[in-house]
């Protein structure tokens, strides 16, 4: 048992400390950008009082907006108070899947910047099957998800093929393919088969009700079955990496491609397979986002999910469980940030500052080690620092 705790402490300590520090520093920003605080900066006593209440109010609002808001229970059931939590999970769901995509690629030594593009293709596939065909509910959802997975895995697998065959670096290729995907969706939404009748702006028809992912807690909560799919996917990734020969090869190539090759593992095949599965995961994220939340495909369907996924994977140290936790944290920050902005004078942008600071600290373990005087904080800076030829 002790060993277990040590292991948790070892792997979770750095992300935990990074999050704490990000909140503290952002808190200072909140305080010092607040007009009411700056007005009383001359008198220390008042300043501390106003500053601490600003600080607390902002983060209380963030918490209420992300998890539980007692005001919402008035005249309703206790469950309704958890409406923010439902929103957090809904936001986190696509992020979990996209994050798993990036994490899986990391484990195999690849930096998948392309989750954004793969997400878009997943959304396109799911949307088309969702609005164009009619099936019985379970079949329809399954087929729509599959369509998203297949399109996105082809999109991702192509990157693997290019790398295996020509050595083209996946970072550059995926960045470029994100642009292609972004413009492709703009174009396809204006084609006859996708454009909603009697509309000229890029908007696809709503998917048929039979293709919608069912809500889990009734119609007042937006929480849908996508979270179950995301959690299953996390279990799948863990299983794949740790219990199968394929995962063994992924990890071997990720940890030392040269030794893997010498032992007879085909690095090219592994690379293609990794990018295909990574694409499938991000695509599943896009599909779930359409079928459970958005219902209609828009050009901005992917938002910044694909890029936040990279942060989430880094924060989760490319481990499935960590990725889920990190995605939930980011979902909470986003949902809570909106309430914070509405209830206090703190802008939503502070959430971006928090996110950025988290990444900054995660990426510089030596700094965290120095600040907290920790000797044996496991250095995992290598995660993101693979060279161009890696």
């Amino acid at each position: 048992m002790k060993k277990f705790y040590n292991r948790i402490a070892e792997t979770a300590l750095l992300p935990f400390l990074s999050v704490i520090m990000a909140f503290v520093i952002s808190g200072l920003l909140i305080v010092f950008s607040d007009a009411a605080v700056l007005k009383v900066i001359g008198s220390p006593g008042k300043f501390i009082k106003v500053a601490s209440s600003t600080f607390m109010n902002a983060y209380i609002a963030l918490f209420q907006g992300a998890f539980f808001d007692p005001h919402l229970t008035q005249g309703h059931t206790l469950l309704q108070g958890f409406y923010p939590l439902s929103e957090t999970i809904v936001t986190a769901t696509p992020l979990i899947l996209a994050g798993l995509s990036v994490s899986l690629a990391f484990q195999s030594g690849l930096f998948n910047i392309g989750a954004q593009g793969q997400f878009i293709f997943g959304a396109i596939g799911a949307s088309y099957v969702g609005f164009h065909y009619t099936f019985s509910p379970v079949v329809h959802v399954t087929l729509a998800l599959l369509a998203g997975i297949v399109l996105a895995s082809l999109w991702g697998g192509f990157v693997g093929l290019l790398k295996a065959r020509t050595g083209a670096h996946e970072v550059i290729v995926t960045i470029m393919m994100n642009y292609i995907a972004g413009f492709f969706i703009l174009w396809i939404l204006k084609t006859k088969s996708f454009l909603r009748p009697r509309r000229i702006d890029p908007l696809a028809p709503n998917i048929k009700p039979s293709a919608e992912l069912p809500h889990l807690l009734g119609s007042t909560m937006r929480l849908h079955a996508g979270i179950l799919i995301a959690l299953l996917a996390a279990v799948f990734v863990w299983w794949l990496l740790n219990k199968t020969t394929i995962g063994f090869q992924f990890r071997a190539v990720g940890a030392n491609a040269s030794a893997a090759k010498t032992a007879g593992i085909s690095v090219g095949v592994t690379t293609m397979l990794t990018m295909t599965i990574a694409g499938a995961l991000a695509g599943l994220g896009g599909a779930v986002h359409v079928l459970g939340n958005q219902y209609a495909l828009t050009s901005d369907i992917a938002g910044s999910f694909g890029f936040d996924a990279i942060t989430v994977a880094l924060l989760g140290r490319a481990k499935p469980r960590g990725t889920v936790m990190a995605a939930l944290l980011f979902g909470a920050l986003r949902t809570g940030g909106r309430t914070m902005e509405a209830n206090t004078s703190t802008p939503l942008d502070i959430v971006l500052v928090i996110q950025a600071l988290i990444v900054l600290f995660i990426a510089s373990p030596a700094l965290v080690r120095f600040i907290f005087r920790i000797k044996n904080l496991q250095s995992q800076g290598t995660l993101a620092s693979k060279g161009w030829n890696g």
């Binding site: 199968t244 020969t245 394929i246 940890a255 030392n256 040269s258 090759k261 032992a263 007879g264």
Partner: protein, 499 residues
């Protein structure tokens, strides 16, 4: 000038690197420090040179106590050091490298190197170095680069010269020349601390030998001691250095390599016209100075290299063009040159490293499902069989010592059905005990009737193990000689001289 160390102790955490070491080096003496890797030689020398601070102990130069906190202090009292890995700037000239850090200016502020140039030429002629001060360092051979390093130390009046494994990078001929240089330096009154694990050289040149084991001075040995005696002192138990070779008479050819050519990506030849055969129970050693195409040839044996033309027949079957996996499984055990880079995955456990090649086969996997139990059982078995010293089979392989890492590689590679063993620099960086183990294991494979292709730059190793010796020079096999060939013959071939 004489140097004396008294009671030098240095600990790193719980590891005692140097334990109360006393050492006395006299004027004009070549004092060899002999010890295995990790015995504490390098730490001791880094302390003398001011790179590492001791926990306790004192230095006396000519009987007077001195303090050395940094290399500049060492240089000031006349201690110079030539590191194993040269500290030269490749694109600078010899002169520029030597004056680096001691630049003199003329009155108008430009670099004045005329005095330095004169001194270099004077020293070079005194010791018989043929050195052009304006030659660019990267164009010089390793042996000459080493002389530049020595000159650098002598320029600033080093009276005690620390040479850290100086012969590791030299050909036999260069080594002989180097030994002459050491003798000349001694004659001129320079004291030399010579760090080495090569017994032959130590015996050839040292006046006194201090043997260090586990951080302690275990003996001051006489250079007249036999190699076995010295090795036993180093390891702390009797060592049998010369392995017994029994001659096998089996004419069945296992491997036949013919007209093998290897090119780089743009088609420039790296290795040309390689032809050889290896018989059952025979060790063919490929000798040569590092970088003459051995790595490429070794890689080609298991199809790790692209652009290979020609034929490699293993028991009559062509293997050129197979996948790496198929080559390995056709009966080749492959011990790569770099354990850390190509042999093992440092982050992976010992158990995982043992099945890198067979993880997808029964009993370790059924379909794509891996069986942890089978993997663990295999690891337990191999750890015992190959005497891999570890607390747990789940420990990352990077936590093992070099010798144990190599045992993991050997255990993995020899666990498949093997007809040919390709071993590249199998004992590089290993200590005496591990070298003994590896050699024994290679000889066992030979006894069992396998063909062995041994790549080694260590002439001693080649002479000890090989039945026949092929010498590579600039991508070609200059000649294949019998094991009875002399060191001189092989040394000449290594230098590219074909008689």
């Amino acid at each position: 000038m004489s140097l004396e160390l008294r009671g030098v102790t240095k600990t790193f955490g719980s590891l005692v690197a140097n334990d109360n070491i006393n050492l006395k080096v006299d004027d004009g003496e070549i004092h060899a420090i002999l010890g295995e890797n990790g015995a504490g030689k390098s730490t001791l020398m880094n302390i003398v040179y001011g790179l590492v601070q001791p926990d306790s102990g004192e230095f006396l130069v000519d009987g007077n106590p001195v303090t050395i906190h940094q290399p500049a202090d060492a240089l000031a009292v006349g201690i110079g050091m030539v590191h194993q890995h040269f500290m030269l700037i490749p694109v600078f000239s010899v002169l520029e490298n030597i004056i680096l850090g001691h630049e003199q200016s003329t009155k108008i502020g430009s670099l004045d190197s005329s005095a330095a140039r004169e001194k270099i030429l004077k020293l070079a002629s005194e010791f018989g170095f043929h050195i052009d001060p304006d030659a660019i360092v990267e164009n010089l051979s390793v042996g000459v680069q080493q002389r530049v390093e020595i000159l650098k130390a002598l320029m600033y009046d080093a009276k005690i010269l620390i040479l850290d494994e100086p012969t590791a990078v030299l050909t036999p001929q260069e080594t002989d020349e180097f030994i002459e240089i050491m003798k000349k330096l001694r004659a001129s009154g320079t004291a030399i601390i010579f760090i080495s694990h090569k017994l032959r050289e130590v015996k050839a040149v040292a006046d006194k030998i201090t043997v260090i084991r586990q951080g302690k001075v275990v003996a001051i040995a006489d250079p007249k001691s036999t190699q076995e005696e010295l090795a036993s002192l180093m390891v702390g138990r009797p060592v049998n250095l010369t392995e017994k070779k029994t001659i096998h008479h089996d004419n069945a050819v296992v491997v036949k390599v013919s007209e093998l050519n290897i090119a780089d990506e743009v088609g420039r030849p790296l290795v040309s016209n390689i032809n050889f055969e290896i018989h059952k129970g025979e060790i063919l050693a490929i000798a040569g100075v590092q970088g003459n195409g051995q790595t490429e040839l070794a890689n080609a044996m298991v199809n790790l290299h692209k652009n290979v033309h020609g034929s490699i027949l293993l028991d009559g079957q062509e293997i050129v063009g197979l996948s790496v996996n198929k080559s390995l499984h056709s009966g080749i055990a492959y011990v790569p040159e770099s354990r850390e880079l190509d042999g093992l995955i440092g982050k992976f456990s010992i158990a995982e490293n043992l099945i890198l090649d067979t993880h997808h086969e029964q009993p370790f996997a059924k379909g794509i499902f891996m069986s942890n139990k089978a993997v663990e059982e295999e690891a337990q078995k191999k750890v015992v069989e190959f005497d891999i010293r570890t607390q747990s089979i789940d420990a990352p392989v990077s936590s093992l010592s070099g010798g144990n890492k190599q045992k993991v590689v050997l255990a993995r590679e020899l666990s498949r059905p093997v007809r040919l063993v390709v071993a590249c620099q199998p004992t590089r960086g290993l200590d005496v005990g591990a070298i003994e183990f590896v050699h024994k294991r290679i000889l066992e494979e030979r006894e069992a009737g396998r063909a062995v292709l041994l790549f080694s730059t260590e002439l001693d190793e080649v002479m000890t193990l090989a039945d026949r010796i092929a010498v590579m020079y600039k991508g070609e096999i200059l000649s294949i000689v019998d094991a009875s060939a002399t060191r001189e013959q092989i040394g000449l071939l290594m230098a590219g001289v074909k008689s």
